[in-house]
Symmetry: C2
């Protein structure tokens, strides 16, 4: 294994461990030492690669663009439900890391705010109503609440329910919020 490969491999291992720990424990309770241990690496190395705990977190939290969101409200709702179902099937480690840390770490909210605002703006543009902004924010809040309830608060009924059932129950709810029900 070449030197560059080892380097990339180690860096990836640290990032994966950091994402998992940030998601599980939040920003404050995740220590550089724990990340290093989980990655099988020396704490100093984490600092050497990422400079600081803050920058390590930002590398994990970098908002990956999640595809465009356009078309008629009906289609947008289905797209949102699909994404929700997908993030329910497997544990969405990065999203959870961002979500949990946004509630823990002062800087995390600001770091993710720009991407989230662009997301809501995109969503709002697909809505016909005059109060599209508030509606888009409510849709975001509802989806965040559901992911939060299932993965972080671990509400039993939500954790045990199949994704399709949740999506089906949520459909009319989102259709009314987006104005897709006329």
């Amino acid at each position: 294994m070449t030197r560059a490969e080892r380097r990339r491999s180690t860096e990836a291992r640290i990032l994966a461990a950091a994402a998992r720990l940030f998601a599980e424990s939040g920003y404050a309770d995740t220590t550089i030492r724990a990340v290093a241990a989980a990655a099988g690496v020396n704490p100093g190395l984490v600092m050497h690669y990422f400079g600081s705990k803050e920058e390590l977190f930002l590398r994990v939290a970098r908002a990956r663009p999640s595809g465009p969101l356009e078309g008629e409200p009906e289609g947008v709702v289905e797209e949102l439900l699909d994404r929700l179902a997908a993030s329910m099937a497997d544990e969405p480690v990065e999203s959870l890391a961002v979500l949990r840390s946004m509630l823990t770490h002062p800087g995390a909210s600001e770091a993710a705010a720009e991407g989230a605002a662009r997301y809501r703006a995109q969503l709002a543009e697909a809505l016909p109503a005059a109060d599209a902004g508030v509606r888009a924010a409510l849709v975001s809040a509802v989806l965040i609440g559901v992911v939060l309830g299932r993965h972080l608060l671990k509400l039993e009924e939500l954790r045990d329910a199949p994704p399709e059932q949740i999506a089906a129950l949520l459909r009319p709810c989102l259709r009314s919020l987006t104005g897709a029900d006329g």
Copy 2:
């Protein structure tokens, strides 16, 4: 001022400061020293009164029973919207402290879980549908998402919108989730 009065007054001041700081910063980032400073008191006194940071948090987080929730789904939805509007008018410090810390502090979830589960059970009993449990959990998740979005994530559109507008947009959403729309 009598000695017992001073004692109660100081204790109340510490509890109020703790509630505010737990809500603002979560469990981990709230220090005993900061609570003591905000209450104008010596850190040692906080320990002397409450024993530990954990017990101080539990005193703040003790679930205050929030009235019964019964009757027809339509009425329950209106009751929920009323409570939501009320918690939007003023900053619900204690609720936020619990909510934020549930996401920060391992023990906080468990501490609040019992009360929250009883709340969802009560809500589920008022719903006629066979999948009342999942529906009740989804209603909780939606309401948590909205409070979270407004007070913790500070989504601009949600923070600036008047409570009545949010309640109005949420009404059909909650009616469909509770099965109040037939």
